[in-house]
Amino acid sequence: MEKKLKLVMVGNGMAGVRTLEELLKLAPDLYDITVFGSEPYPNYNRILLSPVLTGEQTLRDIVLNDEDWYRANGIDLRMNCRVERINRARRTVVGEDGSEVPYDRLLLATGSNPFILPVPGNDLDGVVTFRDIRDVNLMIEAARTHKRAVVIGGGLLGLEAASGLAARGMDVSVVHLGSGLLDRQLDPQAALLLQGSLEARGLKFLMPRQTEALLGNDQGRVRGVRFAGGEEIEADLVVMAVGIRPNTELAERCGLYVNRGVVVSDTLQTYDPLIYAVGECVSHRGTAYGLVAPLFEQAKVAANHLALYGIGRYEGSVTSTKLKVTGIDVFSAGDFLGGQGTEAITLADPVGGVYKKLVLKDDKLVGACLYGDTADGAWYFRLIREGKRIEALREQLMFGESAIGGDTGHAGENRAIGMADSAEVCGCNGVCKGTIVKAIREKGLFTVDEIKKHTKAASSCGSCTGLVEQILINCVGGAADVKPKSEKAVCGCTDLTHGEVRKAIREHHLVTIAGAMHFMEWRTPDGCATCRPALNYYLLSTWPGEARDDGQSRLANERMHANIQKDGTYSVVPRMWGGVTNPSELRRIADVADKYAIPLVKVTGGQRIDLLGVKKEDLPKVWADLDMPSGHAYGKSLRTVKTCVGSEFCRFGTQDSTAMGIALEKDLVGMWSPHKVKLAVSGCPRNCAESGIKDVGIIAVDSGWELYVGGNGGIKTEVAQFFAKVKTAEEVLEYSGAFLQLYREEAFYLERTVHYLARVGIERAKARVVEDAAGRAELYARLKFALSFEADPWEARRDAAPAAREFHSLTV
């Protein structure tokens, strides 16, 4: 057996252990791992020290990885053991117990130290910091035996300590050097609201005050605090919460380059390439992060490089803060102070205790500061990270995501905070809020994907994803790993995003799934049910005529060219152009239903006839007997063009919408797309074909045709946006086709037109399709070229032996 490499980790906190978890996922057998931790505990959730202080949770509740976890992964855990020195020449780490452990790779995750004010008396009994379990135990003990507490520092940690101690019955004063609380998270107005509200709850504030000395009694215990200017107050307990400093002592002593933090590259390597560093001890591009989400991102990248995959770079993070101080919700993200070139939208309701400020720059949201009502924090944060243009949302922006449109499936509930534990969040899988909260707490979950896996919430239609995200943020605060799809890896087989995969396929002319996986260094031999269908689509849409459709990389419906039903039978929807049929087709459909004893015949929402309950082995025969083309009701493809009767019969009709719909459908048939595509053509603005909720909706007016795009009648009802007005039927075909080709080329797999437009902005689509005539013609030509390779899939499978074989069963 090959000898394993040796990995030593110094520091046993959240960032380091998350790196190990990510590493074990990628390369479980690559390393023998040794972990040194100075605390006598396994990895616990430091963010939850506040609830432990208030008594809402216990130490047991906040342990993320118990000792069994280290054992099960073969990790040599040395708790309560500081590291004395690192010997880079010998590649060893020496513990304070004298043990010397060799390494091939070293991971520094030494975290940070609380800053101790350099004032006389800072070493008295009863002077503590707020960093670890030991500190919390000291505070709990002091609260039991003493009365007056002074917390120095009006930042996040200070206020949490203050409210925790107040909850334990102490008389608490907060001393702050600046004039506004939480000055790194709140703007001055929000800070004033917070202060007022905390004062109403009994906390006292002394600010601005500069601490000059801590005064002791003759037993060596603190008895008071003296400020510059001579003012003194009494204190039995002083908590110093004036900030943290990266813990770089060990790194400095072994000669690594340190500038505030241990300086690392985008691959989280220090100046010694065998030594990696993650977490609060690190300085990356001049920034040291003290929040958990960026540290987890670092962990992912470091793990990738430690696993010898060598892909992925950490490029810094936009951070958000969510905190709850004695029941007051505060959220901020990005550049919430604003400045040159920015504008702000504010909402202030001082009596109701709500303040919101959104900072905009160049039509994008760049910062948010919320006080009192933080339900939309996750949404704003997503908008900031996506850098999405918000001109279309601007008017509703302040009122939150729920003002934008109607979700279905969770009783219209859009705010997780007010929901009872018994309220249903995921209507598809029947998952209640309490179940999700319990899973987050007990299994230590930090991402929506993990919640999906463990609880099934948001794993079907996805309409409750926003709610689940809110619940996650409420439970774990800034540690929540919420990322838009554009920043997420396609699946566990790769670290690349959809955008990166599309780009590689285009730029490196990749035409097979195996070749693409090889080139992009997929971790699995042949992918999974998430990435294979996506890759198959990207290859086909990028290289039509060259890439070969891989049926085995399509999910059941698209492989069988029918919709699988809960009992394993299939449904068959023949194509009826524009929803128009005739007596002879109807007779054939009726005959087929009789002959194959089809249990249910139903009209669909797209004006087609659905034959439900067809046995798999009957499918080729049913198709042959129907003698109609596939309706593609099963595909991420053109589904239907719904029409009204139009000017041929209707007394209000202004144009022949039925003929227009048929022409569109014939023009687009066989088109594979990132997600399903539905169209409609209405003959007048009464809009009987419901063009307003279609991917492309056409409305006839007397002077021509209006085109609307990005509508959706499904999970979230979205009204289509006006796109263009044209005069002729030919223009309708070209504009619609060009828009859909743009969507086919740029959208991520499983992204509907509405979500694609939300990501790139409708202005971009208009610029490419409406305003650029040459570009439009090229897009349309590329669509026609791609469609020239498509044939009716039912006809091809009616009797050809190799294709038909999959439909037939074997016997014993």
Partner: protein, 111 residues
């Protein structure tokens, strides 16, 4: 685990008649169907054609590695052990299979 000793081998098809990364359904009189899978590297596995979650036909699933993703709700089943991929919990019955000179044999209990 199925008892290889007590089973009867049935010749069902040639390996080329199972598409790579695909499956065929084997009907058994009076009993539930068996799905016989062929992986990308030509390993052959057989499991009951019924997902332990909601009874979906695993034979219609997407085959990757040594696993299949159920077509109904995406549970991933390991074809060799029959175990569902965590955190889902469940197990599907497995059957012995062997390939000799390209002929695929499925082992079923006698009687």
């Amino acid at each position: 685990m199925p008892q290889a000793a007590a089973c009867q081998w049935h010749s069902i098809c040639h390996i080329d008649e199972i598409p790579p990364q695909g499956a065929r359904v084997v009907r058994r009189p009076g009993q539930h169907d068996v799905a016989v899978f062929r992986t990308r590297d030509d390993q052959v596995f057989a499991v009951l054609d019924r997902c332990p979650h909601k009874g979906g036909p695993l034979s219609a699933g997407l085959v990757h590695g040594r696993s299949v993703a159920c077509p109904l709700h995406g549970w991933v089943m390991d074809l060799a052990s029959g175990q569902a991929q965590a955190p889902d919990e469940g197990c599907v019955q497995t059957f012995p299979v062997k390939v000799e000179g390209g002929a695929v044999y499925l082992g079923l209990d006698e009687d």
